[in-house]
Symmetry: D3
Subunit: 335 residues, 6 copies
Amino acid sequence: MKIAAFGEVMMRLTPPEYLLLEQTKELRFTFTGTGVNILSNLAHFGCQTSLITNLPENRLGEAAKANIRQLGIQDQWIGTFGGHIGSYFAEMGFGPRPTQVTYQNRRNSSFGMSDASCYDFERLVDELDLVHICGISLSLTEQTREAALTLAKLAHEKGKKVCFDFNFRPSLNETNGVAFMREQYEKILPYCDLVFGSQRDLTELLGLSLNETKEESQFEELVRRFMQTYSISHFAGTFRQGEGTKHYLAGFLFDTKNYVQAAPREIVNLDRIGAGDGFAAGILLGISEAWPLIDTVEFATANGVLAHTIQGDVPLTTRKQVKHVMEQPTVDLIR
Amino acid sequence: MKIAAFGEVMMRLTPPEYLLLEQTKELRFTFTGTGVNILSNLAHFGCQTSLITNLPENRLGEAAKANIRQLGIQDQWIGTFGGHIGSYFAEMGFGPRPTQVTYQNRRNSSFGMSDASCYDFERLVDELDLVHICGISLSLTEQTREAALTLAKLAHEKGKKVCFDFNFRPSLNETNGVAFMREQYEKILPYCDLVFGSQRDLTELLGLSLNETKEESQFEELVRRFMQTYSISHFAGTFRQGEGTKHYLAGFLFDTKNYVQAAPREIVNLDRIGAGDGFAAGILLGISEAWPLIDTVEFATANGVLAHTIQGDVPLTTRKQVKHVMEQPTVDLIR
Amino acid sequence: MKIAAFGEVMMRLTPPEYLLLEQTKELRFTFTGTGVNILSNLAHFGCQTSLITNLPENRLGEAAKANIRQLGIQDQWIGTFGGHIGSYFAEMGFGPRPTQVTYQNRRNSSFGMSDASCYDFERLVDELDLVHICGISLSLTEQTREAALTLAKLAHEKGKKVCFDFNFRPSLNETNGVAFMREQYEKILPYCDLVFGSQRDLTELLGLSLNETKEESQFEELVRRFMQTYSISHFAGTFRQGEGTKHYLAGFLFDTKNYVQAAPREIVNLDRIGAGDGFAAGILLGISEAWPLIDTVEFATANGVLAHTIQGDVPLTTRKQVKHVMEQPTVDLIR
Amino acid sequence: MKIAAFGEVMMRLTPPEYLLLEQTKELRFTFTGTGVNILSNLAHFGCQTSLITNLPENRLGEAAKANIRQLGIQDQWIGTFGGHIGSYFAEMGFGPRPTQVTYQNRRNSSFGMSDASCYDFERLVDELDLVHICGISLSLTEQTREAALTLAKLAHEKGKKVCFDFNFRPSLNETNGVAFMREQYEKILPYCDLVFGSQRDLTELLGLSLNETKEESQFEELVRRFMQTYSISHFAGTFRQGEGTKHYLAGFLFDTKNYVQAAPREIVNLDRIGAGDGFAAGILLGISEAWPLIDTVEFATANGVLAHTIQGDVPLTTRKQVKHVMEQPTVDLIR
Amino acid sequence: MKIAAFGEVMMRLTPPEYLLLEQTKELRFTFTGTGVNILSNLAHFGCQTSLITNLPENRLGEAAKANIRQLGIQDQWIGTFGGHIGSYFAEMGFGPRPTQVTYQNRRNSSFGMSDASCYDFERLVDELDLVHICGISLSLTEQTREAALTLAKLAHEKGKKVCFDFNFRPSLNETNGVAFMREQYEKILPYCDLVFGSQRDLTELLGLSLNETKEESQFEELVRRFMQTYSISHFAGTFRQGEGTKHYLAGFLFDTKNYVQAAPREIVNLDRIGAGDGFAAGILLGISEAWPLIDTVEFATANGVLAHTIQGDVPLTTRKQVKHVMEQPTVDLIR
Amino acid sequence: MKIAAFGEVMMRLTPPEYLLLEQTKELRFTFTGTGVNILSNLAHFGCQTSLITNLPENRLGEAAKANIRQLGIQDQWIGTFGGHIGSYFAEMGFGPRPTQVTYQNRRNSSFGMSDASCYDFERLVDELDLVHICGISLSLTEQTREAALTLAKLAHEKGKKVCFDFNFRPSLNETNGVAFMREQYEKILPYCDLVFGSQRDLTELLGLSLNETKEESQFEELVRRFMQTYSISHFAGTFRQGEGTKHYLAGFLFDTKNYVQAAPREIVNLDRIGAGDGFAAGILLGISEAWPLIDTVEFATANGVLAHTIQGDVPLTTRKQVKHVMEQPTVDLIR
């Protein structure tokens, strides 16, 4: 199965050792993005993956491509357009001090300026089996919105699986209101098969109401209604729970018939950015290999928890590592 | 309000990543000191601040001054004298292993060798509104003792606020006994308005006795007596509490009428050196802007807790960050 | 004399030890820009300096400001506007391999988006004695063009010195042709007193012709004509000469009566970016202190040569260092 | 008392800051090995120590020797043989992610290729008082097996103390089965005085059975039987206990008459590799100075816990540090 | 044209900033090898390239593969076998101090232990157009010798181009004498089309004699004789010339009719390891695209000179960079 | 032959990559001093060496001792006294920019405060064969002056060789005038056998006059007179010559009968601090092994030149490396 993702490449710049920007003259730099994260993790699981994006035709674009190849992602669908890569600075938090992300000019990036005409979608879609599209594309620019919709429609028409991730960020949509964004989501959802999201996405963004009165079945009924409306085959996401200073992650997964939930796992946090993409990669692996639902969500949850323990956005876990943690959770040294 | 501090500048040398001195060939270096710490934090809160000290007239003195300016502190009252900056090495602890500080020749520093005649106190005092003096000055050398007393007296006479921090370190006073040191503290306290200290400072150093029999009011009565003796307007400090491996910080604050205490906050410790200066900066901000006592002590406590999560001595928090932690304590990622 | 500069702040990201972007995960970062460079060097010479620019109101803007203060530049005229700082990557060359600079989105920066209305020029100009404006401002955006012209005109009208640097970069002016750019330069030059430039700027950009037939006096006649046309008081620049693998730098300087040239000095190149700003700072120092022309140009040339031996764009030399190199050129170790 | 150890020197390569091998271009490198670890710790306790091993006669061998001297170990018994040092990569774990060790060609190392004829054991043994031999020597190669047995026999015959550490690693013994390995252990044990091991070593490796029915005395009876069989004077080891996410360490120690156990201490884990060697060093110190058993095991346990908080394999604690942690466990900053 | 190379992957460990191994605790690590170097450079020139080798199935093997993909080389023909990667330490020289390379166990590596049966040569050869084989394979082990000969024969029989690099290292052949090695070279040469070598390889290793008496045509006659003997289509190599402290590189290239030599270019040396591979990549590019001989050798020489200015073994130049240096050799800053 | 040196240990702090103190937050730190440098080099040549000094009894003193052991120097004569190590910052120069050394409080160091009573000279001298004393000891403090004289006298009386290095630094003797210093040198010279110095030391410091009129024999006659006055057996030093931007080093050496001079060698400068100590170590090696004078001075000169190419003060060359450079000066890569 050939899995592709459509999405931006960002440069992440991180001060070492929990330092603040003011405290250092050195930064660690990597390339990231929802598509990069999910594909890299799938490649580490042994899947064939390919990124659909545009990068500037300069030294930085070349460095980004080299980094993407290193992650195990094929680069043949990465075009060149524009002259800029969006970037962000991550000042890593510690204890009660939250991690602080500062974005630098995301909208003017090569990806942000590229509309559908900048890609050869016709040819790409023929070669892929499943394409992941991130909701950020709907928020970023007029061009990425158009490109995402074109790609989703085309893939759907050609009988390819479309995976969509709500990933709604109010901060990216201050000018376009919720009503406008809802319209965009409603346009793309009919083309989608697998969707990642949360209860809040369905109620606050799509405006669905909680009908069921019994609290324990409210959520399930809501999701069922949503899935039927848009003919969604799978819907997945995570619950985060807190208990004092302890935090837990538990994934859930619906197919058209069943609903399963993983046992919660404690989160120990080294770098939580991108951890959601680790969960998504786990779900995609299980679905693409037709695992039982419960195995899929358990694996995805363990992978999401591991993704919190890896520096940077990109989850680099292998199947062996995830299974080791699931089967021998108390081993702290492998040799 | 123009806030100044009188105090030493030290160079701090820290091995990276919890390494011991023997384990590394590289050190991170910064400039620090109680005055530097408090003023830098106040500058990050938006106050106008200025350091009163002397540095050597050489490359190291210039680097120190550049660093102080970077922290937001004005350098126009930093003179040159002598040829040495005191330094200390901090081998960062981990879990049960304590952080180990090793001082290098603090007394022979430019600051340590400077007496009152090395400063233009007359002119400085006219321009400032509040001056912070650290108790270390009374312990360090004959020269710093004389300079601190001269400055406190002058500022008091000219109607400027004097803030004093007990900061009594037995290790710096092995030759001068407690009786001698008590005399020094008694000399400076009549000139002071705001004082930072602890119950132990009042009993063991100043020799005040606990009169009140009811334990819950003993401390308050003791502080009241102390404040009245020296006409102190505000007295502040912190309680540290432990509960298993968990530690909590709670600030207290007296004005001439009221006594308030903040709700304890859990400490997660990245670097505790200088955290007390974060608390002091919070108190000074609230008092200089005439906030309600309880708001002041709550803010100062939150700031002190945040200071534990920042590498190095110097608390670099902004008002926005402190308020964010107070209002949304569970958010661990801001973007 | 209070010297200000109007100009952009850029973030420079440099791989360590001559590595290429592909070869490293770590970058050194600093803040730079023509104005930053010249002012920092003047501040290291003991002058009072202030930068006029806008930065984003976020963590990166704050880090940039802290860095600028560290360099000795006052930050009271740095406003906040927009959300982006232009950046560039410098892959340092070695021997025949040239240094490769890759810009990232310079035009959408806080500075690039700020027109005259984003600054309080009226108030600023009253407080300054000399303002430096870089030609980059005329090329960057419509907004910076307008702001630069407004500032130059205002300063000229209020009797303040205006220093202008041609700094013409064809690569920044691919859409606007030379004719358009000539017009902009012709608009600003009548307000200028001191100008930095080269023969090529006068002939190719301004379109002046070489009239004099004797080659040795061609250049001088050309400059005289230019200076008289725009009532320029000083014109300065550098000649670069090569002789095999050796390179030499020699500055020249005109006032309304005289023309002097420095003895050429050999260049040993650690980082040549920003070295021209070192020469400019030397000239501005000599003129602001009314040194003899020849002393000025000799000092500026020596400083320009030293600037090639300092990492980063920002020349950090002191008077003492420049004089040491001029007086004791063979000493390679000072202790 | 002159303490020697016979064992391999390995190079350890560790990515900084919990990064994975794929995520970094930089590694921290140190030299390690059971013998190195124990001797270095004993040297830090003030003992005279010397390592018996072979290293390649090249730049890497010289660097290894320099590092060993730095640790306080004498290098006069380090010979040269072969051309290779075994190495391992340690990708440091975090939270649920275990530390991953990857070995590189341990068996072909200078140590692995050296048999008894490569050492001047006769002379060495005369000069030492106690020699430590690690069980790894029995597993590594035919050559190290032969050398270890020769040395143990010789030392025993000359009346020197022999200390032996089971350190049985199934992964190093996949080709040789347990039966073969048992034979080797049975050969060396008659020469040994002090032994480090666990219940599993006695039952699974040596094949002793648990005779006693009462669970609380089973272990003691088993050890007594083992000690009598081989005339062992001291047997020591540790229990690790878990309680939720908390882990505890408690040492035990037998002499020919008594059995003591230390109070469990909580483990906070920075780097657990080599922590067992910290415990062993503590036991050897107490025995070599004839401390009371309980003091010995308490000290060794505290030292083992401290070893978990130090980067790298080599425990670098001093007596002062261990005693400080035992006497003032709540102090987190020493100055 | 699909270009493959058969060869070892080594790990290179380099102290930073010209430090010796004793002087640092940090190493930069990369993966290298003749095949890796040539293919990476060709990939940067835009060619499709693939490495034929074996790596261990562990974390280090995975990291090596990731690094190889980053370099632009496809990894589908990299198998897993054995458990070790050869490594070398490069202590970088400076001025008269030579660079010191220390190898660690090259022969026991996954590549060194793999014979022809460990590769699916039949399938590979069908898919490739040209395969590069390094002479090191003939020296390393019995297994690599056999694999190299098998591959060369098979490729030749299937009508694919075989490129061979003498790369004779006496230090790797201390046990096998020159006579034995000559036999191996004589076995492989009949299958080869393009060969890289020097006069010394032909005379000292193959034992050809210099027949021609006129010195200027001796070399050409020798090469012609060699090429005819083995039906070689192209023979290339470099001359290194010294003149005081200056060094020059000039490539030569023969096809069946012509002999051309490039103008010598001065070498400025940052890291000379791997520079010969840069020359080879340039020659392969020109030949694979059927450039005129003289253009090919000029490009290859310029590329070889550039390779001396890049850290590490792997030449990372692009066509654009090489051409820039050829066309504008005096430009030292591109922006 | 057991060689000892009496001298201070200093901590050297160096910014990486030619950065200035203002430009970095990281420093490389090492321990150095004339005695450390010479002994370490002799240890690398295979001699048994031991340092006579005092260090503080704290973490920094322990780290210094570990570093000294790493260098190959025995630490059994290093005592503890006082609480401070002198330090210096080296901002590395580049091209015309000189290296800038800034000292920090050298006189108050443990060594500076130690007089003869702080050492067990009686016992030490019995065990050593040759002791090196640096002229810095005569300048530093009253205490070091006294200790150096005591040690020289004692060693001389016990028939041990005394080696003395003029090393006169006017900057360390601003308060004591030349007359006072001459007296000190005159006191110690009668106890010395081997002396390192220059013509200037003999004329300006000792006040000897140039008698001989023929310039070519002036120097020789002067040295002969000096050697006879104080019964010196060997006198050695270096000439530095410049020719444009090229620099050359040539050693000279006198014994009681002959005078030899080495052929000048070009200096390529990575770090010139401590290079003179490399020359001295070479001379001491030759004399202690009774080499021919010319071999000694050639080796010492080559070693001095190599010492310029090694980072840090401490020359770490081996005999093999020096000989390689002498015999194969054009080889730039050893593998």
